[in-house]
């Protein structure tokens, strides 16, 4: 399992893996926003957490369609299917590796972008924390979409369309927790805990459904 984790991590970090492209995309999306809404710093600091979250959500979707496709093409997916370790575990490990390679860099890059958005320290910290907790959920949901579309030659766009509606709760609670940390009356803990609950919930549902989809599309 650790070997699989390291293998996936190495593959996605090295050239052609495309994990770092996600961070680049994230920065580009965030950098484009001020051109759309204007350079008003007050406005930017107000919508900053939301912008960071939407950027991260889109960037998370970028590499998802390749989660199982490369394995399918070179045949290692069949090896995984025939392994003694349950497929659910392999899928879970693959998701974690994918998140470490593409989700974690987004979390690390978010404070810098928060500065661009004129957010204060508390808002930056809260956004970073919610991203850290929330982005795994997007990966787990995305794994279902990736597994469902694995047999399609051009599944990339379809995966995004299928996954985005399902990821709405993550976005809602991530953004509301980030705002609750800044605005006084709203409590921070309830939305944050619900966000954690959603992540844990999809950590179970996602790999199960993805494994079922992979098994049915392989025969």
């Amino acid at each position: 399992m650790i070997a699989l984790f390291l293998r996936d991590l190495k593959l996605s970090v090295r050239a052609g893996g495309g994990a770092l492209i996600g961070v680049l995309f994230f920065m580009t999306v965030v950098a484009v926003i001020p051109f759309g809404v204007g350079p008003d710093l007050n406005l930017l600091s107000r919508i900053g957490p939301a912008i960071l979250w939407i950027g991260a959500l889109l960037a998370c979707l970028l590499g998802l369609d390749r989660l199982f496709q490369a394995e399918r093409e070179d045949g290692s997916l069949d090896v995984m299917l025939m392994q003694e370790t349950p497929l659910v575990l392999s899928v879970l490990v693959k998701c974690l590796a994918h998140w470490t390679a593409s989700g974690l860099p987004l979390v690390i890059a978010s404070p810098l972008l928060g500065l661009f958005m004129n957010m204060n320290e508390v808002a930056i910290g809260a956004t970073m924390l919610t991203l850290l907790v929330g982005t795994p959920a997007i990966t787990f949901i995305g794994a279902v979409g990736a597994a469902v579309a694995v047999a399609l030659p051009r599944g990339g766009l379809l995966v995004s369309i299928l996954v985005l509606p399902l990821a709405i709760p993550v976005l809602i609670f991530g953004v509301s927790a980030a705002y609750a940390a800044v605005e006084d009356p709203a409590p921070f803990l309830p939305p944050f805990l619900i966000l954690i609950a959603i992540t844990l919930f999809f950590a179970v549902i996602g790999p199960l459904a993805a494994a079922a989809a992979l098994r049915s599309s392989s025969d």
Binding site: V144, G145, V148, A149, A151, L152, G155, L158, I161, L162, L164, P165, L166, I168, P169, I172, F173, S176, A186, P191, I194, I198, F201, I205, A209, A212, A213, S216, S217
Partner: protein, 257 residues
Amino acid sequence: MMNDQSLAIRKFSDLANPTRFLGLAERLLPWFSGLTALLFVVGLYLCFTTQGDYQQGETVRIMYIHVPAAWLSMMCYTVMALSALGTLVWRHPLADVSARAAAPIGACFTLLALVTGSLWGKPMWGTWWVWDARLTSVFVLFLMYLGLIALNRAMDDPGKAAKVSAILILVGFVNIPIIKFSVEWWNTLHQPASVMRLDGPKIDPEFLWPLLVMALAFSMLFFTLHIAAMRNEIWRRRVTSMRRQAARNLGMEGRKA
């Protein structure tokens, strides 16, 4: 005589034979469509003869289309989820036909609910669209329908498409309560519920009767369309396999010659 007996339907699992299902559909469809038409005649008559609301005037009649369509949009997804269970658990051969046939119908009802809601919102709230919790979750449901249809269209092998979309339907079904709950949370956080209070005036029997009849009519319409769409899907698959067979035969003859 023997043929009749072998095609008799005793259990639900007997419907697994598409020919039996087609026979049943043939017998049911005229009755269903007749009943639908009758219910619509009665329902529409009631809709237009009952009084308008003293506040909303004539626009309240939009409700008789809007509310049943919204109900049906949810019921249709439930039917799809049950069919998905049928595909994955019992491997019922007609379950995937049912799920596939229900998706476009559900999308149409959802669109109808959205459009009529929008038309109703313009005179009542002064705007076409509000990011109200209920509207938003119906809109998300619509997006999910479209995604499922797109997935089904993208795959050429119906067997594979069936299993894979059944998984997605079930994941979506689990997710719908979460989406609904979170959207309500989101909306109450940003703006207090002020715009849409359907339960404000207790619904009057004057409105209730046409509404119930229309809901029944819409349900019958759904079942009629669903059975017809399933029949079409079976026929379509038969035609495809016959075409393949014909092509194969042609190829064999060509090789011999």
